[in-house]
């Protein structure tokens, strides 16, 4: 961090965002005009703030405590910083990966919608971090929720086809509820009939315990 602050750090690509400058306000403005860069920047900002924040606290504690004690004292925040580091990577990688899709325009568009929903759902779950220091305003927070609703609506008619694209055979999926043909109820009944308890109509346990009780 000290090197980053003095501008002398050489970082691998995975950690490169730590070197970027903080931005005061997010430029997120709902789905209209939304680009992957806006979402990536927001995640990197939150991750950077977490990492630098916990680093300062660690440095402060190390003045009075041995390193391992200082590390343990702030380990909850350290884990949080690690999580945001990973989440920032996941969002950035998601958009980078799908940008290589050479399929039809509609498939590319669908993948961007899926990736945007992923990012916005994560923002919604960790909104407090985005609202810190007014990086997100309350109105932007509201737009996150509205954007999620819009994306859910857009994905609704595509959902079954999207999961079909995972290409599970019934053998691999091994689920009566998730059968490809959707014939769930009749097969639930067939499945239940295989239960060991259904091998005879009256079980020994009845003769041994329940029957005598009822006849007492």
């Amino acid at each position: 961090v000290a090197k980053i602050k003095s501008g002398n750090a050489k970082l691998a690509q995975i950690d490169g965002y730590l070197k970027a400058f903080n931005v005061n306000r997010s430029s997120f403005n709902g789905l209209t005009g939304l680009t992957p860069q806006i979402l990536i920047q927001d995640f990197e900002q939150v991750a950077r703030i977490q990492v630098f924040g916990v680093y300062s606290r660690l440095a402060e504690l190390k003045r009075t405590l041995p390193e391992h004690e200082a590390f343990n004292k702030i380990s909850i925040d350290l884990c949080r910083a690690s999580r945001w580091h990973v989440k920032a990577y996941l969002v950035k990688n998601f958009f980078a990966y799908i940008s290589r899709c050479s399929g039809a325009e509609r498939v590319k568009q669908l993948l961007v919608e899926i990736a945007s929903l992923y990012a916005l759902d994560q923002i919604s779950a960790g909104l407090a971090h985005f609202l810190r220091n007014q990086y997100y305003s309350q109105s932007q927070a509201d737009q996150v929720k509205m954007s999620i609703e819009t994306l859910l609506e857009r994905l609704r008619p595509e959902a079954v086809a999207i999961v079909d694209a995972f290409d599970f055979s019934d053998r691999e999926l091994h689920s009566v509820l998730g059968r490809r043909d959707g014939n769930v109820y009749e097969n639930l009944l067939k499945w239940a009939q295989q239960s060991q308890l259904n091998k005879s109509d009256v079980l020994d346990a009845y003769h041994k315990h329940l029957g005598p009780m009822m006849k007492e």
Partner: protein, 440 residues
């Protein structure tokens, strides 16, 4: 089911195109189809009673039988160079989420023999492993120690008089605990033990140890071994415990590609301390992929069922509504679909980065390893947690039927949630990432 048909007809994109992108190309999809047809054509793999209706012993037996047939047909069914792609898929089709007596043999034992032995050791062991003349596992974790390897208690003390190592469990907390297939199946184990030679301690090192007789399969003298009992999931596997009572093995059974102990007992250090990181990165990229596929399965089940299930008549006389039309249901399920892809694509990227780093490693360049090692630890942690939570959301989205084993969810959840603790407990992993971030 007419509702599912209606949904499929309503989609605005070409499913095959998306599928090709997700799986990495047309050829991969075609191979998946061929492998499925191969498995379904073999009477040995016919599934009579669903595994969830079997007792633990019946499960173990069925899986052992399947494991033998699976490995016998493996070279006909899959491209041997793609063990972690086609191989894992082939295994999933036959074994489901239950694993088997040879699971660690191929995933851990074989790669360790390939990567950590000298030429002479490789000559001695590789043939035996490949022809299944022995069955192996990888015994690292102990009752008293998991992720913190530096504190493992099993000792390997070199005796220059006999040119042997004495493997010993000094107390009960040193018992090896958890390794897959260790309990009843394996004849050999790679054992991680604290190396002592020349009066000095040199930390954990790998040793190949025979634990059962190759004739009658009984445990050898000085060895106590058995199954650790039923677990949350994966009950077709005999995860085991293992204790040593001053058990002697030849010096040549220490895996010596990197560190060495000479006949006289002199310790020779490895050239690069960080070389061991590489394989962990690879195993974790496989894990992330495997975890993503469990969430893919859960979201497939929940989405299809949400299209089939009807509940609540909002407009009298109009019939009940497909539950997928409820916004709350969409919020439960669709983010799980998005996570699946985020994680799957990250797994691909980490695997590719690993291959790049491996190339650099062969020139002794370990520059990128710490960042990649840290990222893969963090991903493993975040992904396994979110996958298990996501599966639970999908289960709940199916109402009461999600609680039945017919849904598949109990098995999927039990299988996936294990990932939060194996290959490094998640919080410990996150703290390792934090250490690297603070250093950066």
């Amino acid at each position: 089911n007419p509702d599912l048909t209606k949904e499929r007809k309503a989609a605005s994109f070409d499913v095959n195109q998306l599928s090709e992108f997700i799986h990495g190309g047309k050829e991969v999809l075609a191979r998946r189809k061929e492998i499925l047809e191969f498995v379904e054509s073999k009477p040995e793999f016919k599934q009579e009673t669903p595994i969830e209706f079997l007792s633990r012993e019946e499960r173990y037996e069925q899986q052992a039988k399947n494991a033998v047939a699976m490995t016998e047909y493996a070279t006909d069914a899959i491209d041997g160079s793609d063990f972690f792609g086609e191989g894992m898929y082939y295994q999933q089709l036959i074994m489901g989420r239950d694993l088997h007596a040879l699971s660690l043999h191929y995933v851990m034992f074989l790669p360790t023999i390939q990567n950590q032995t000298t030429e002479e050791q490789l000559d001695k062991w590789l043939g035996l492993v490949i022809t299944r003349g022995i069955a192996g596992t990888y015994a690292q974790t102990e009752l008293g120690h998991g992720t913190n390897l530096s504190q493992l208690e099993t000792t390997a003390t070199y005796d220059p008089k006999t040119e042997e190592f004495v493997i010993h469990s000094p107390k009960v907390s040193a018992a090896k605990w958890w390794p897959g297939a260790l309990g009843k199946s394996s004849t050999h184990a790679i054992v991680m033990a604290q190396l002592y030679t020349d009066g000095q301690k040199y930390g954990p090192h790998p040793f190949i140890v025979q634990i059962r007789d190759l004739e009658d399969h009984k445990p050898l003298k000085g060895i106590t071994v058995g199954d650790i009992g039923p677990k949350l999931g994966i009950n077709g596997s005999d995860n085991g415990f293992l204790l040593f009572n001053n058990y002697r093995i030849p010096r040549e059974n220490m895996l010596m590609r990197y560190s060495k102990v000479t006949k006289e007992g002199k310790y020779i250090h490895p050239k690069h301390q960080k070389l061991g990181y590489g394989s962990m990165v690879f195993v974790r990229s496989i894990m992330i992929r495997d975890q993503s596929l469990q969430l893919a399965a859960a979201s497939t089940i929940a989405t299809r069922y949400a299209a089939v299930r009807r509940q609540g008549e909002l407009v009298p006389g109009k019939g009940e509504v497909q539950i997928i039309d409820y916004r709350t249901q969409q919020l439960r399920i669709f983010p799980q679909i998005t996570k699946t892809l985020a994680f799957l694509f990250a797994a691909s990227e980490v695997r590719d980065l690993y291959l790049k780093v491996t190339e650099q490693l062969s020139d002794g360049n370990v520059e990128l390893l710490p960042e990649l090692h840290s990222l893969s630890s963090g991903l493993k942690s975040v992904v396994s947690w979110e996958v298990s939570q996501g599966i639970e959301q999908c289960r709940l989205a199916c109402g009461g039927h999600g609680y039945s084993q017919a849904s598949g969810f109990p098995e999927i959840y039990a299988y996936a949630v294990g990932g939060c603790t194996y290959e490094g407990e998640n919080i410990v992993m996150l703290l390792q990432v934090a250490r690297q971030l603070m250093k950066t």
